[in-house]
Amino acid sequence: MTTSAPETTAEPRRVREIVLALETDGRDSPAIPLALSLARHFAAGLVALLVESEALRRAASLPFCVEVRRHSGDERRLDPALLERSLRQALQQLERSLMAPASGLRVDVRRVCSRPLQLLDEHATADIVVFGRSTVSRWLPAERSPIRLETAATDPAHFDEAARALQAHTASAPWERLHWTGDADVLARLRRRRPSLILISRRDIARADGLQQLIEALDEPIVVLP
């Protein structure tokens, strides 16, 4: 889906694209409004990606593959054709859900088969990548603080513009700062803190598999700045 960009007289931009990476079950992810806000703030294009994993494709090809439905526990046979149909439906739903809120933005919605770290590499020119998973767990409190995940070398001012862009989503609680002290430690602390979103700079990601762990283990949207 592509719509024309709005006419703007904004200041010279550094950010040109917002990449929204959603897992196949993340069509109603809270990451979507964050990505939209960022796109509007930076007058950037939005690339919405429905990320399929290779593992899922392989699993669906196995003769005994059965899907257990998330809410009912019901089972159904899963094969590549059914998976393909489900993914197409998921993509259509994502397009529909973006149609109204993304009015006036340049939006590109497509499916990719990749991994988060690959995405970062594939979208090297993209300025901001937003990772989202499924709906936030109902167990989480309504008001949670957003967290800026920093290292000793992080320039705090680096986050300011993005923080302003996300103000509408963070107004009810102040930003918290968390130092990257190690993958397992950070993950444990983040699980305890239950932030509303995590803001991190690509420069601060020392180990790629650390980010992979965060994405797989946490429900919260993760915004990766250039």
């Binding site: 593992a55 699993a59 196995l62 526990g73 767990s137």
Partner: protein, 827 residues
């Protein structure tokens, strides 16, 4: 004199005619001697203690207000202006002040059946207090409930629950994931859930790799996959159950938090109202409702930033409010309510609606109480005529009194005129005594035609129109004048003025021996006399001012009389005031124009000829005569037959008419005049036209009392005076009316100087003697009258006519028989 007349009536005999002299001037008006009054001005007089002349009514009022039993409501009757309402109200207020203050009447929401609000009867002043407390409670909970849910305590407890359930849920899936890992499997997310896939070296098998495995390995993978999938499914189902349990735990937490906060706010109210079980029940239901609707309260508070404003009539929190229908705060006794506009709604109450987006909405706070509720525990005064004129009001009043409860039911609902959802407030117990005021006719009509009326209004307080004019009562009347003068802040009156007012009260009573009790008329006289005194610059109202006031009042209403008299004086209406005429007499009539009445003469004529005994009343034949007038004519016919047709048929055909009348005539006060006219026609004797006559006659010729005697005399006097008083002119009135004479000063003065006369007669013979100047004649033992008398001439004329008729009917035998009879009579 009257006694002898009555004795004659009893015997059925002919009343003997006696000479009649003109009445002494002293009998024409009973003066009130100002000098005999024991005060100089009304300032010297005390206020009237209670009422005067209304003993019967006040006793009935005392009895009625004291009787607590069902149905002893009162009907206070009498003509308008007697002061029924102020007197009744005064007595009721006096008694009400000694009675306990009835409770406040409130309505509150019925949480079980919302369309049937509950009535609370609370100690005086408590209703408003509770109303205020409940408004404050709403204000408090609108800030308190959101605060409780925003507090750290709630957040911590809620998060503890969330953490617990998240941990349990994660535990479920972690256990499945670990089990899968142990079996070299992994959980893979799908668009709609999960699936289980075999892994090797951290990568999911592809189908080619799977095919390369031995059959045993494949079967083991499938078996393990089934086991893990089964556990995954169990985990999902357990997760769903956890969600339900979580919802219950959160609900319990919310209830607990809301309850604590509401209890905190209600604690003080419960302590304050613990002696009132109904209020405690209400508070308990309010508490439960607030707890159940804590989410709604939080939403409202978030959206509206505060409690509903005072001008917001319908709010979600109205159900916690109190509608005070009757507030007794500040009362000093039982209520005495006068409802001036007793419509159904004003009596019973009403349910108002508010239009919102084209829909009519209501709730119990829009219910208004009526006069019955305001008077509950006390007295309600109503004008009976007004109640009866208002649609459905009378029935509603009776229904409430019968059931002893007020049921506020919208009229449109009763009549099925509206189909909007409305309310059915619980009936409110009623303990009220209703006092209806009205005239006697209304009372008797209701008694006759409404079977409920005698059962519901058992006490009649009948207000007298007048009372005896004796020394004590005259002084009491003077005190009444003084009281009214002070109450209405008028100038004091000197005793001359009071004396004139007393005389005027007798005149209004149409009885020299009575005084009118019409307070309103008296008050009008006082006010108007005060105005004349003010105009004259006098600090004290004097007799002249009273007379001016009375004369001015008459003058304002007197145009029609002037026109009629002018018409007579210009000979347009033919009225003779001198000379004599056969078969013509001056009768007297009274015209009533509201409070004003006047008299005027009217010419009555008769014709007679042989016939079958029938007297034609032309007024009746032309449908201009009333029933009583017709009755009078029939009576005089009977008199003629009784007196002159004992030995022969009444061979008379006659007609009577009020000449130059163009409207209806009623009453029998002209029957004496009509009889005289007829006797003149029969006897051929002319009647004096300088006299007028009024009075009714009975079948024996006795003259009976009539009404409006003063106005009638004055009406003829005015005509005679305008033409010049001759000294022979006068009026014949029934002897029984002497005691009613309260004539104007100028009439009395004319009588005193011999220029005008008033004769009191008791029989038609006296009237004929005076009018014809011929003796009426007494009957002898054979039933014959002397031939040179009125009766003799009439008898002879009728005898002639009888013979004439007989000769016409039987030309030969009739002649001889007639001759025989004539010879017998002569003998």
């Amino acid at each position: 004199m009257l006694d002898s007349v009555n004795a004659a009536h009893d015997a059925g005999a002919v009343v003997p005619a006696r000479p009649v002299a003109a009445l002494e001037p002293g009998l024409l008006c009973r003066r009130c001697d100002a000098e005999a009054l024991s005060f100089l001005t009304t300032t010297d007089l005390p206020d009237l203690d209670g009422t005067i002349g209304q003993g019967r009514a006040t006793n009935a009022l005392e009895f009625g207000v004291g009787m607590a039993h069902e149905g002893y409501n009162l009907f206070v009757m009498g003509t308008p202006g007697l002061g029924k309402s102020p007197i009744a109200r005064g007595m009721l207020e006096q008694r009400a002040a000694t009675m306990p203050i009835p409770p406040d009447c409130c309505l509150v929401h019925n949480f079980r059946t919302p369309h049937q609000p509950i009535a609370l009867m609370l100690a005086p002043g408590t209703g408003v207090e509770l109303q205020r407390d409940m408004r404050n409670l709403v204000r408090d909970i609108l800030s308190g409930i959101p605060a409780a849910f925003d507090g750290d305590d709630y957040r911590t407890r809620a998060q503890e629950i969330n953490d617990e359930f998240k941990e349990r849920e994660e535990g479920l899936f972690t256990a499945v994931a670990e089990e899968a890992m142990r079996k070299n499997l992994m959980l893979v997310r799908t668009p709609g859930g999960w699936t289980v896939a075999p892994v090797r070296n951290g990568e999911v098998f592809g189908p080619e790799e799977f095919q390369k495995l031995s059959e045993a390995e494949q079967q083991e993978i499938e078996r393990n996959s089934d086991i893990v999938r089964q556990k995954l499914r169990n985990a999902v189902q357990e997760s769903t159950r956890l969600h339900r349990e979580h919802a219950r735990r959160m609900e319990a937490l919310n209830t607990d938090v809301a309850s604590r906060r509401v209890d905190q706010h209600l604690e003080e109210l419960r302590a304050h109202y613990r002696a009132l079980p109904e209020v405690m029940t209400f508070l308990s239901e309010v508490r439960d409702d607030i707890v159940d609707n804590a989410d709604e309260i939080r939403r409202f508070a978030a959206e509206n930033k505060g409690p509903p404003s005072a001008d917001q009539r319908l709010t979600p929190f109205n159900r916690y409010y109190v509608n005070v229908l009757v507030d007794r705060n500040g009362s000093t006794g039982a209520p005495v309510i006068y409802e001036d506009h007793p419509t159904y709604q004003n009596l019973i109450g009403r349910i108002e609606h508010l239009a919102q987006f084209g829909t009519l909405l209501t709730d119990f706070t829009l219910i208004k109480g009526g006069a019955l509720l305001r008077a509950n525990g006390g007295y309600l005064i109503l004008d009976a005529r007004k109640v009866l004129m208002q649609p459905f009001a009378w029935d509603a009043l009776k229904r409430a009194l019968r059931a002893r409860e007020a049921r506020i039911q919208p009229l449109e609902q009763m009549l099925s005129l509206a189909s909007t959802i409305t309310l059915e407030p619980a009936p409110i117990p009623l303990d009220v005594k209703v006092v209806l005021t009205g005239d006697r006719l209304l009372y008797h009509l209701l008694s006759a035609y409404d079977p409920d009326f005698p059962l519901l209004f058992k006490v009649q307080a009948d207000f007298a129109e007048d009372f005896a004019r004796d020394t004590d009562n005259t002084r009491g009347f003077a005190c009444l004048i003084a009281t009214l003068q002070r109450q209405h802040k008028l100038r004091p009156m000197d005793r001359g003025a009071v004396a004139r007012l007393i005389e005027h009260a007798a005149r209004r009573a149409e009885d020299a021996e009575k005084l009118s009790l019409h307070r309103e008329d008296l008050l009008d006289n006082l006010r108007e006399a005060d105005w004349w005194a003010q105009r004259a610059g006098s600090d004290v109202v004097q007799a002249a001012h009273v007379l001016q006031a009375i004369a001015a009042g008459i003058q304002r209403a007197d145009q029609l009389r002037e026109r009629m008299h002018e018409s007579i004086l210009r000979d347009i209406h033919r009225i003779q005031t001198s000379g004599m005429a056969i078969a013509q007499v001056n009768g007297l009539a009274v015209v009533l124009l509201g409070k004003h009445s006047f008299g005027h003469p009217t010419r009555i004529t008769a014709t007679a000829h042989p016939g079958n005994g029938k007297v034609i009343d032309i007024q009746r034949e032309s449908e201009l005569g009333g029933a009583i007038h017709s009755k009078g004519v029939l009576i005089l016919s009977a008199f003629l037959a009784q007196r002159y047709a004992q030995r022969q048929p009444l061979t008379l055909a006659a007609s009577l008419v009020f000449e130059q009348t163009y409207g209806a005539v009623d009453g029998d006060s002209a029957s004496a005049a009509e009889l005289c006219t007829l006797l003149s026609a029969l006897s051929g004797l002319p009647l004096r036209q300088d006299l007028a006559i009024t009075g009714s006659v009975d079948q024996h010729g006795a003259v009976q009392a009539i009404g409006g005697v003063n106005e009638k005399i004055e009406g003829f006097f005015d005509i005679c005076k305008a033409r010049g008083l001759s000294g022979t002119q006068g009026v014949l009135i029934p002897e029984a009316n002497i005691k009613h004479l309260m004539l104007r000063d100028d009439v009395v003065e004319a009588a005193r100087s011999g220029r005008f006369k008033v004769y009191a007669i008791s029989s038609i013979d006296q009237a004929m003697t005076l009018l014809s100047g011929t003796q009426a004649g007494d009957v002898d033992a054979q039933g014959a009258f002397p031939s040179d008398t009125v009766n003799g001439r009439v008898q002879a004329r009728l005898h002639d006519w009888a013979g004439l008729l007989q000769r016409f009917a039987h030309p030969k035998s009739g002649e001889s028989q007639n001759d025989d009879e004539r010879s017998g009579n002569d003998s």
